[in-house]
């Protein structure tokens, strides 16, 4: 995977550095510009409410997420965490309040969601499934190349011509990740993407998520029921209870984080006790 990453660096830069200095400068500027473009968007949520019928799921969420932050949202089932994510992703209509993404004009391709189910098209080869993620650029000439690059990032480029049905659960989820990444999103929302995977696959997927997040710098919002996963990956953990942000915990642990370290474990313990005390009240 390391080598795959290295080879995916733009070759133009290497070539031009050797030959023309001005060209090299142009190339570097291009890259910087792209860096700016692909970096994350900040997210501001004010007074967000959502009900389904008589059931008020979100009762006023106020939240600011700085650009490029990795936020985990935890809470017991039915607390509204998935609804919050679906609202951020624009999959549900907002009842009251607002969600804004800084001052920039956003494209649909800037916000992507990854679900618990891979949701791959069973009748499309792996590569075409990734191309779906390009949105309106699907028919552009470099669609193949971009999809291949995204597949390389998740280490599955050798499966490009396979049907999804022959892949394992973890591989399918990696294809779904490549599909979400291929349009270089600026906000990536994860709805328990690792929930259906076995323990070992989960750990390697968590590493993969962390790596692509660090490489691409998007704003990541991860909904999970696994507090250990939340503290291992996120800069900040939000505990949602009864439709509100009950706790907002910063995870100031240096990366790369060592799984099972005492620091993470104590943090996990305190968040779990928040969750359980909320459970006792009801």
């Amino acid at each position: 995977m390391q080598t795959a990453l290295r080879t995916s660096l733009p070759e133009t830069e290497l070539a031009s550095r050797a030959n023309f200095a001005p060209a090299a400068r142009v190339a570097r500027e291009d890259r910087q510009e792209r860096q700016v473009h692909t970096s994350g968007l900040p997210l501001s949520i004010r007074g967000l409410r959502k009900s389904f019928g008589d059931n008020e799921v979100l009762r006023g969420i106020d939240l600011h997420i700085p650009a490029g932050q990795f936020v985990a949202i935890v809470g017991k089932s039915g607390c509204g965490k998935s609804t919050l994510l679906r609202l951020i992703a624009g999959l549900e209509k907002i009842d009251a309040g607002s969600i804004s993404f800084g001052d920039a004009a956003i494209q649909p391709e800037d916000i992507r969601v990854m679900f618990q189910e891979p949701r791959l098209l069973p009748w499309a080869r792996v590569l075409s499934n990734v191309e779906v993620g390009l949105g309106r650029d699907r028919s552009s000439g470099d669609a193949h190349a971009r999809a291949e690059k995204a597949l390389t990032e998740v280490g599955l480029v050798d499966k490009r011509d396979q049907w999804p049905s022959v892949l394992s659960g973890g591989q399918k989820q990696r294809v779904a990740l490549a599909r979400a990444l291929v349009s270089r999103p600026r906000v990536l929302a994860f709805d328990e993407p690792l929930g259906a995977l076995d323990a070992l696959t989960r750990i390697s997927m968590q590493r993969l998520l962390e790596r692509v997040w660090r490489d691409q710098g998007f704003t990541a919002i991860l909904v999970t029921h696994d507090v250990a996963e939340a503290v291992a990956l996120a800069d900040r953990v939000l505990v949602i209870d009864e439709g509100r942000v009950a706790h907002d915990v910063m995870v100031n642990v240096a990366r790369p984080r060592e799984r099972g370290s005492a620091e993470l474990a104590s943090l996990e313990g305190s968040i779990l006790s928040h969750l359980l005390s909320a459970d006792d009240r009801t």
């Binding site: 999959l91 679900f115 949701r119 098209l121 069973p122 499309a124 049905s165």
Partner: protein, 268 residues
Amino acid sequence: MSLIDSVSLPRNFRLPRVDGLVQWIVPLAIIAIWQVASVTGFVPVRVLPAPSDVALAGWKLLLSGELIRNIWVSFWRASIGFLIGGSIGFAFGLANGLSQLSAKLTDTTLQMVRNVPHLALIPLVILWFGIDESAKLFLVALGVFFPIYLNTLHGIRTVDPQLIEMGRIYGMSDGELFRRVIFPGALPSIFVGIRFALGIMWLTLIVAETIAASSGLGYMAMQAREFMLIDVVVLSILIYALLGKLADSASRVLERLTLSWHPAFQKR
């Protein structure tokens, strides 16, 4: 490793060959027993002629060109009727699967018509069209319409809503969503409809040709009955069986080609 190779290789080798033959063992055995029963006089020739006599009758009709002509006429009627009825059924299935309004408008009517046995319309159809080609085409089209309509509708309605949501998130237009998600998702069900429809197609055609026609396989069988040519009657029935099998195989080949992504159709 070498042990595994030596065990699995012959198995992989033998399976498809045996598979191709196995399905013909029973039909061939029936014909063999039938031949023996006829030759020994166990089954009187007046009841059922020997397979060899049927083959001889077939050979004679083949030489006179009558057989080919009748098969061709029936085949033509079947295909045109299938195309007309199938396309209309497919169109209604699409419309009612995709549009609530269209479903509300037409589904009840179609369900009522569906419950009328279409062969019960034969007297009416003869009054309308005479014993013309259009009468047969109408009946075949009507018979084929419903299985294709119902299965297309069912296929479209049961496409995984999560995939449709995924398509919308990734900015697919309505046309693209249909082409990339809905239609491929409905295809397995549409094929079930096609295979049902092929069976109904032959049934309808044979009944229609037996009652009102001046050419075709059904007509050939009825003529033979008039002249007590029991071997030709049996020949016609066997040809129906073969044509039915042929239609089924054709749809299977089509299924394999278009559903190669489906785990059930991947080579085992």
